[in-house]
Symmetry: C2
Subunit: 421 residues, 2 copies
């Protein structure tokens, strides 16, 4: 008997008919001889509707209240899905994040799971019940409800899989798995059978919306085998797991484009030591994730410092940085929301040189200007004009030959020989 944690997203449970279909899928999994814990998101556009409602009464709603409000979406869908399971004859019980023993830290809107006490879930599993947990939420030390941020239900699922030592954590979506690129942008994109944690992590943090990066990180840290698969059709999806020699060999596993980035530029900053530290310390203290950073060459003792933040964080970034503009004697602060970050990701980069060069070359041939660059061991990202993003992704996908399936990785011995430095 295996233990599955299955997570269904909002579009998979958008209405009563979807609920019935998902319930059948869950019940089938249980009747095949498995224990099943389900994590469910809010139905359809519920979360967006709740945010819109909040903004109607208050343009800058308090974060604690926002969390209390949004968490109701998942509570409701977990109860409705449980009712749908009952209608099929399944034994099932719903749980709020609180009831499921999910404890989070005190950061509203972006809380982190600190501990899970799965005692109550385990009790109901032992009684043969499907346990349906409201995703995206937990209780913080003040006994307040806090949510995990967009896509947080993925994290709930992985954390529960880790706490329950589940055999597999399945993320069921309205896509068939993880693709080499967004199929809506690149028709030649193909579904990957497998992907390494590290690669998925980079893709997720580069704007691939298929999984939340925090969820992948959690899975990597606790060795949870993740599967991204279709909630509509029963067929294998993409396994996210530890890299090994049996994995298909690809230099670039995927291309991601993120149009939700904005470039902030602090103009005319005095070029003295410690100024950059003050800026990024303030941003970190406010829980603002900064991705790319560029500092122009100093001219006449002043320099421009640019960095990217999520578009949603522009107002908050403004509040944090504006007081610093004066205190560091900078000339001003501006934001550019018309950029996109395009990233190539693949563990194969570790053993293949020249990826960056080929990327820049492809973009240059299409007259796409690169504004910022950042790299990691397995990733190259560039910031370009937003309107060039789709063209860039399509060109890179073709140039790196990602549409065709490659062979499985060569055994470890040969692999070493292939390295080119």
């Amino acid at each position: 008997m295996a233990l599955y944690v299955q997570k269904y997203g909002g579009s998979s449970v958008a209405d009563a008919e979807c609920m019935r279909r998902v319930a059948k899928r869950i019940y089938d999994t249980q009747r095949a001889g498995n224990q099943v814990v389900v994590v469910v998101s809010a139905m359809g556009d519920t979360t967006d509707d709740l945010i819109a409602l909040a903004k109607q009464v208050n343009p800058e709603p308090n974060e604690r209240e926002m969390d209390s409000l949004m968490a109701t979406g998942e509570m409701a869908s977990s109860a409705v899905l449980t009712m749908a399971l009952h209608a099929l004859g399944a034994k099932a019980i719903s749980m709020t994040g609180h009831q499921a023993g999910i404890r989070v830290d005190g950061t509203h809107l972006k809380a982190k799971i600190e501990a899970i006490n799965p005692k109550r879930i385990q009790k109901h599993l032992d009684q043969g019940q499907v346990v349906v947990v409201a995703g995206f939420q937990g209780t913080n030390p003040s006994e307040d409800i806090a949510t995990l941020g967009r896509g947080g239900s993925d994290t709930t699922a992985v954390a529960l899989a880790a706490a329950l030592k589940a055999d597999r954590c399945q993320i069921l979506k309205d896509v068939d798995g993880v693709f080499t690129a967004n199929p809506r942008v690149v028709p030649a994109a193909r579904k990957l059978d497998e992907i390494a944690y590290e690669e998925m992590l980079e893709l997720a943090s580069c704007g691939a919306e298929v999984l939340q990066s925090r969820a992948v990180e959690f899975a990597k840290n606790y060795g949870v085998v993740l599967e991204v698969l279709s909630s509509f059709v029963v067929k294998p999806g993409t396994l996210v797991r530890e890299e090994d020699e049996k994995m298909e060999q690809m230099i670039i596993r995927g291309i991601a484009a993120d149009k939700n980035q904005a470039k902030a530029t602090l103009l005319g900053v005095p070029d003295t030591p410690g100024v950059a530290a003050r800026i990024f310390k303030a941003l970190a203290a406010a829980n603002l994730n900064v991705d790319m950073i560029v500092q122009n060459v100093s001219a006449a003792g002043v320099t421009d410092v640019s960095f990217t933040v999520a578009k949603d964080d522009i107002a908050k970034t403004k509040r944090v940085i504006e007081p610093l503009v004066k205190s560091v004697q900078a000339a001003g602060l501006n934001f550019d929301g018309d950029i996109a970050k395009v990233s190539l990701v693949g563990v194969g980069m570790k053993s293949h040189s020249g990826v960056a060069y080929r990327m820049f070359d492809v973009l240059a041939k299409h007259k796409i200007n690169i504004e910022m660059i950042s790299t990691s061991e397995i990733k190259i990202s560039v910031a370009i004009r937003a309107q060039d993003a789709d063209q860039a992704v399509r060109s890179l996908h073709q140039a790196f030959g990602m549409g065709a399936k490659a062979k499985k990785k060569a055994p470890a011995k040969k692999k070493a020989a292939q390295k080119k430095k």
Copy 2:
């Protein structure tokens, strides 16, 4: 500095504009130098929408899941109202029933409040905050969410007022107060300045929808002064309080009609001792409230037993009674949903005879047939055909001269002299 508990119903917080208006009313109350605890219902038709959604996936949804689902409506509205208060500059915090320390018994859909630990509310009041509590809900001993039944937010408000020793519990509604009869049925109906707990209790349990009877009972038991008033216009409403000689003297304080009743008839029951006890014991064990009971004169050793239950309870009553039909060797069971219960209520009945006679006489003159009768010290109820209900209420309202204001009660000495036996 007085402490007010204010309860706002669903229609008072139906949308963002209503929320803003209610927030202003609350903030005005606080700024006038008071502490304010607010209890709020789900927005507009939210509860009905959630019930409809549940029935789409399961015609007989599990009660625990139904409670988890419905409770989200009040959680959401408490958060939104708090945001609206923040927008005005007020200090405010929302609380779920659980956070507000409301503990209930284990009965789903009709839970009773067992205890309130107001420590957290008191802490925030002491910090100058308005505390906005999600009505209608609490946590039971299994740490599950349970709701208090329709209108349960009134009970939440009164129970909080009792626990916090509030100076007044205001129930703000889309009506101006308690009326002598439903103004939509009787144009001559007038608003009462005051009404005794007992009278309000009888009216509430007889179908007057202005207050939930459990809330009035709670207020009576704990001496909480209730006020029913308009949420739209600032003006005095109706005070519900202990009867005394300063209260306006009226034989009949109000007339209520309840069209949500059904008559169940158990046919051909053997007329042997203990049979009725078995039937009503089973109904009580299933938490079914039976109101009127009539047993026909026995003929040939068998009799018909009729009783009224809420229309919503027909299915449940069927499940409870059908096994008994066989075991007590009755001939069958049928339901009649086309009845209405019309009730006259007034503490004045204690000292005035002939009320029942005058009631039956008025109905007879209008050719309205009485099917069942039940009485208490301060109430007379009759079950009649549903289509006769409005006519009955109008005729009785006029016959008892309830449209015109009477004098204040005479001092106690004279009162004794007025008694007619």
